[in-house]
């Protein structure tokens, strides 16, 4: 229309360049916070929530990924039943429980008194001492694997070399020599079913001791010093102070540390996986549920069963955390207040 009948008078407003688009101030203020938090929610949705929900869905399906998405089919709770009746699942669960006890309990039995000792006695260079204990926790798994496979090597390892030297010492030498002779001249730390599990458990203990030490030290530092002074004035020995002051007041931290250990040990994967070659027959003796899940999914191609196992483990971890909460979860100060 306008081209056919051009207006002889051009309105001034039409000559002005178009204004850049701007949201009204009130509207932009409303939107801005959502834009700022959007990246987190987008990442959370894609990398946390979706895999979580998808794994529930997958646990009700039978699916071999190499055969494509279209081969996925609904089996209901069959995967759960299959996992619970699989002998290897129970073997893996036993191994996991074994590691949780043998590698987990000593972490706390050593870290707690050690933290108390460092807190009370080590004044100079404390950070250095704590740092030294903490280093294994932050060391890369690959480096740990390299170091320990070298240390544990049957024919060329430092541990067996040291044991060979110890056989020269009177009294302990003879039984040690007899033991190593029984083991074909040297202990196969990562290849003999009798010793592989303890050898791996030691690495787990060594790696997480420093973490628990730091947790307990931070718990000790918030305990009021007046309590110790009062106990000293009342004639309490150091052991009595530890038993009747430190331990009760550390219960919340013990709850936290033990919870983390339960969760960590029931999900144990890295140490046994990197230390013991999956090709070794002995690998089954250190196969934790996490490793079994990995094998079921990526070697056997059964993602449905692997997902079902992960949810079974979730239930187990939740149950054990609840038990732990019943044992350690109550704050002694609030319990005292209630009385």
């Amino acid at each position: 229309m306008s081209s056919r009948h051009p207006s002889p008078i051009v309105e001034p407003s039409r000559l002005r360049p178009p204004r850049p688009f701007r949201l009204p101030p009130l509207r932009s203020r409303r939107i801005a916070p959502y834009l700022f938090i959007a990246p987190f929610f987008a990442l959370f949705l894609v990398f946390s929530l979706f895999p979580l929900v998808f794994s529930i869905y997958l646990s009700l399906q039978q699916w071999n990924p190499a055969e494509g998405l279209h081969t996925m089919h609904w089996v209901g709770l069959e995967n759960y039943g299959y996992a619970l009746t699989d002998p290897w699942f129970w073997d893996a669960l036993y191994n996991t429980a074994w590691f949780a006890l043998v590698a987990g309990v000593p972490q706390h039995l050593v870290a707690l008194p050690l933290a108390f000792f460092i807190h009370r006695r080590v004044k100079r260079g404390r950070d250095l001492v704590v740092g030294a204990y903490f280093v294994p926790y932050i060391t890369s798994s690959v480096a740990i694997a390299l170091i320990f496979t070298t240390l544990y090597s049957k024919d060329y390892g430092l541990i067996n070399a040291a044991l060979a030297e110890l056989t020269r010492i009177p009294f302990i030498g003879s039984p040690l020599a007899a033991f190593t002779a029984m083991k074909d001249g040297g202990i196969d730390w990562l290849g003999d079913a009798d010793v592989t599990r303890p050898a791996v458990a030691f690495v787990v203990f060594w790696r997480y001791l420093g973490w628990n030490l730091v947790l307990y030290l931070s718990g000790l530092q918030v305990i009021d010093k007046d309590l110790y002074e009062a106990a000293t004035l009342d004639g309490a020995t150091e052991w009595q102070q530890f038993r009747h002051v430190t331990l009760p007041l550390l219960k919340p931290m013990m709850f936290f540390a033990v919870t983390l250990t339960i969760i960590g040990n029931l999900q144990l994967f890295e140490e046994p996986f990197i230390l013991v070659d999956g090709e070794k027959g002995v690998a089954s003796s250190v196969m934790t549920t996490a490793i079994f899940m990995y094998r079921t999914a990526f070697s056997d191609g059964d993602f449905g069963t692997a997902s079902a196992m992960s949810w079974l483990m979730f239930v187990l971890i939740a149950a054990l955390t609840w038990v732990n909460a019943r044992l350690f979860g109550r704050d002694p100060r609030s319990a005292h207040g209630k009385r």
Binding site: A66, G68, P87, A193, E279, K280
Partner: protein, 433 residues
């Protein structure tokens, strides 16, 4: 204002699609197609792994000369990562290459997936070229229904590599270690006594070879043609018994292949023999024990067993964008004599192409083996290895057998019970799918 609103919305939509296409390549093929870039047919994506990638790199100039219009793009990842990533690609149907390299160990699982082109069909007609390749290797790349899903690039004829100096020191001849299993074990005891060296790296090596004893064309290793599990057969019983006897006699160093102890065992002369693919000679020469050059020899596997150790294949995924060029590449890598000979020289990988097996290079002496013309022996072995079909549960069965064998040799479990348990576990896992 409404014009502006529409423009913003369409711009946002375009941005969203472009962003998604950039983040998830292959997920939105339609979006990827609208991007004005090189036509899809001009790039050939080949997913491979070390050391096989070196053969492709060596062949790249020849590819460029033959196909100047098709750019060769090699995507190489570590062995395990490559096969895991290809499993994921097959699962989602996205990110698939035009050509996929597959190791023998994964061929059963991948071939059974149904995600690959049947190369017997037109326009590839691999069946017409079947005679160009070693027979057993072609059988490994086929599905039970006869579909040819992968073409062999290299093979690993099984051989017994032994330290001649250690055998001489113990007064043991080659005939004694190859005649039969009992002679092999008896010779091992003499070698151990005279030199202190172990007969073998691990008793599991002996088990793995012995359970291939007497296999004929068409017979499966773990499953028969109808999918029945065979692990309770006499073949497996004998293999377990031999492995246990070797362990009890202290003849194995308990060193798993590719570990530090295993490599150190070769370097220091603590392992007298090793049953493996012929390609091990190249590995020994290049990095495991180069200082032992001239001390080794190659012999047939004990007991007249003919077996293959390893091998590499190429396959074309059904969703590959550039199938014609992919087939040309596969033919170049597997059926071009020059390329196959280059692979032999670069990688010490034994050719799968029969014509190359008649090349004069096969008669050359190998310095690392003290001048032995061992390739002649490997050629004969390759020609007589039975064509054993692969099963998609072979890898699973291998894991179960390995674990049960460990229970026998380490915990004293009865062999019959171990094999019965192995059968139960394999059937249980295989029956569901």
């Amino acid at each position: 204002m409404s014009d502006l609103h529409l423009t913003r919305r369409s711009a946002a939509r375009a941005l969203l699609v472009a962003g998604a296409a950039a983040v998830l390549p292959g997920t939105f093929p339609a979006a990827a197609q609208v991007i004005p870039t090189r036509a899809p047919a001009s790039v050939l994506r080949v997913a491979t792994f070390p050391d096989l990638d070196r053969a492709a790199i060596a062949a790249a100039p020849r590819w460029r000369a033959l196909h100047p219009d098709v750019e060769l793009k090699l995507l190489s990842m570590q062995y395990a990562d490559h096969h895991l990533s290809m499993t994921t690609a097959l699962a989602t149907g996205s990110g698939l290459p035009d050509v996929m390299a597959i190791d023998l160990r994964y061929i059963g699982k991948f071939a059974g997936s149904g995600g690959f082109v049947d190369l017997n069909q037109a326009p590839f007609n691999a069946g017409a070229h079947a005679d160009e390749y070693v027979r057993f290797a072609m059988a490994q790349g086929a599905r039970p229904n006869g579909a040819q899903v992968a073409i062999p690039a290299d093979i690993g004829p099984g051989t017994l590599i032994y330290r001649k100096d250690l055998l001489d020191q113990a007064g043991v001849s080659e005939a004694e270690i190859t005649r039969d299993w009992s002679a092999y074990l008896a010779a091992g005891e003499r070698i151990r006594k005279a030199t202190g060296a172990y007969l073998m790296a691990d008793a599991a090596d002996l088990r793995d070879i012995a359970l291939r004893q007497g296999l004929r064309d068409g017979e499966g290793l773990y499953f028969d043609a109808d999918g029945r599990v065979l692990v309770e057969s006499a073949r497996f019983r004998q293999a377990f018994e031999l492995g246990r006897a070797a362990r009890r006699a202290g003849l194995d160093a308990r060193a798993i292949a590719w570990t530090n102890d295993w490599a150190a065992g070769f370097k220091q002369g603590r392992i007298a023999t090793q049953m493996m693919g012929a390609w091990l000679v190249g590995q020994l020469r290049n990095w495991i024990a180069p200082q032992t050059a001239g001390l080794w020899r190659s012999a047939p596997l004990p007991g007249g067993v003919r077996a293959a150790y390893g091998g590499s294949f190429y396959a074309i995924p059904k969703k590959a964008a550039n199938k014609t060029a992919a087939w040309d590449f596969i033919r170049l890598m597997t059926a071009d004599a020059q390329v196959q000979l280059e692979s032999l020289q670069v990688l010490d990988s034994f050719p799968a192409m029969r014509a190359v097996l008649r090349d004069p290079a096969m008669d050359e002496p190998i310095a690392f083996l003290g001048g032995q013309r061992a390739r002649r022996l490997w050629r004969e072995t390759a020609a007589s290895i039975p064509a054993i079909p692969v099963n998609r549960f072979d890898a699973l069965a291998t894991t179960v057998i390995r674990d049960e064998f460990e229970r026998v040799v380490a915990k004293g479990k009865a062999i019959a019970e171990a094999l019965a348990d192995a059968r139960y576990l394999i059937e249980r896992r295989a029956r569901r799918r």
